[in-house]
């Protein structure tokens, strides 16, 4: 089963692709406020990319709770 550190690596890779920044520093605490351009539109793009990558679907309530990268990692972990 895929672990949280692998999920974190995959999500970091996705974020670097989406923001087109290969040197982007990502930690579990990273939120929209830490990344220029991470607005509500980008937030949706990130969640869709994660759903496609891990072949999962989040519910509305789950999406409401996805604030930080750590939240995303934990939410994916619970779905796999």
């Amino acid at each position: 089963m895929i672990g949280e550190s692998e999920i974190f690596e995959e999500i970091t890779h996705l974020l670097r692709e989406i923001f087109v920044r290969s040197d982007m520093i990502v930690s579990p605490e990273t939120t929209d406020g830490d990344v220029p351009g991470w607005d509500s539109f980008k937030h949706i793009e990130i969640i869709i990319a994660i759903e496609e990558k891990f072949k999962i679907k989040f519910s509305t309530r789950e999406v409401d709770g996805l604030i930080s990268v750590g939240d995303l990692v934990r939410a994916v972990r619970l779905k796999l």
Binding site: H43, I44, T60, V63, D64
Partner: protein, 375 residues
């Protein structure tokens, strides 16, 4: 034997109306049946069990070009229930007090087709000489939470609370008039995601979207992106749901065909989120303009009830000139149905500078606090 609710479909394909229809009906067609002549009669079985019922009808008037929409009268067991001009494409929802219905005898519904007209008289090359009223697709009568005793009343404005304006603004979700409510939320420093937050959708399309769970909204072939003449801002147009929305993207910055694909996925995702919000109990939905009568508002509210019988809808309109004291106030129309009044809506060309922030804040605060007081 008395039933608790009844649902009638009039088309040939899945119709069950033959045991209910009396005089004044034409033969069934694929998905509907015309009411015909001055009166069309339905005989429903005895019905019992509720103080109040909701009568919902999916009908389309025969409406030749150049003629005013037809008027329909509804009479149940001799009681005048309603008389109005149904809009094309907008289902009808009417409250029927339980005391009008019989639990012992058949319930006779008389539909008065005041303006039934003959196609051959009003449309050239038409040989049809029936007096056509309305194309009836369905009719349902079911117990309702709406009270027959309910009367509109102003909600009190509660002074002082522990919530921030952002917390209050987040409790609401737009049902797509334009971006005015989205701008209000932005001014409150919150950015909830929402399919219709930055979108315009006409009432019939909103209702059809709610009824179909926005099926097929992620079909890329139904979405087109167009750049505005001034500035090159891309707006999205969805041909099935008539959705027009801001992408907040510039044509010069993106590959339009690649972005169309991305946007289709995005609105598909947002439709799924909206359905989740409708099914949940966290959001109060907001709509302004487009639903001009209480009946149309009830229909929208009813479409939301399919997802959640406790759904709440705040409809916002401009205060009429003779009742400016209503500005910033909220009327309670029925359980879960509110109407708030602004001084004016912002002009489409410049929403951020001209919307009434303080009035929107008062309205949302009033509904939010009242709603919380019920739970």
């Amino acid at each position: 034997m008395a039933v608790k609710e009844i649902s009638i479909r009039f088309g040939l394909e899945d119709g069950n109306c033959s045991e209910y229809i009396g005089t004044g009906w034409s033969v069934a067609e694929r998905s509907f049946r015309w009411s015909h002549g001055n009166e069309s009669v339905l005989a429903l079985p005895p019905i019992t069990g509720a103080a109040s019922y909701l009568l919902t009808c999916n009908i389309t008037p025969f409406h030749p070009q150049g003629r005013e929409r037809q008027e329909l009268g509804i009479d149940i067991n001799g009681f005048d229930v309603d008389q109005f001009r149904p809009s094309i494409g907008v289902p009808v929802a009417i409250i029927v007090p339980g005391k009008m219905l019989s639990a012992e005898r058949k319930n006779i519904i008389t539909l008065r087709n005041y303006d039934a007209c003959v196609p051959s008289h009003v449309v050239s090359k038409q040989s049809d000489d029936r007096h056509l009223g309305f194309a009836w697709r369905s009719l349902a009568l079911a117990p309702s939470a709406y009270s027959e005793f309910a009367r509109p009343g102003l909600l009190p404005e509660l002074v002082g609370n522990d919530f921030t304006v952002g917390e209050i603004a987040m409790a609401f979700q737009s049902l797509g008039q334009n971006c005015e409510f989205g701008m209000f939320q932005r001014r409150c420093n919150v950015e909830p995601i929402g399919l219709l937050r930055w979108a315009y959708i006409v009432p019939p399309k909103l209702l059809s979207g709610l009824m179909s769970r926005f099926e097929g909204i992620d079909d890329t072939s139904a979405l087109s992106l167009k750049a505005s003449k001034l500035g090159g801002h891309l707006t999205g147009h969805h041909t099935i749901y008539g959705l027009d929305y801001h992408t907040f993207l510039m044509e010069a910055d993106v590959d339009v065909s690649e972005t169309t694909l991305k946007e289709s996925k995005r609105i598909g995702f947002l439709a799924r989120m909206l359905i989740g919000q409708l099914e949940g109990n966290d959001k109060i939905f907001v709509r302004s303009k487009g639903f001009s009568t209480l009946r149309e508002l009830r229909t929208l509210h009813l479409a939301m009830h399919v997802y959640n019988p406790a759904a709440r809808l705040l409809y916002v309109d401009e205060a009429p000139p003779e009742a400016r004291e209503l500005i910033g106030r909220v009327e309670w129309l029925a359980p879960g149905l509110y109407k708030g009044y602004v001084e004016h809506f912002a002009p489409e060309q410049n929403v951020p500078d001209y919307f009434c922030f303080d009035v929107w804040r008062r309205i949302c605060e009033t509904v939010f606090l009242f709603d919380r007081s019920l739970h």
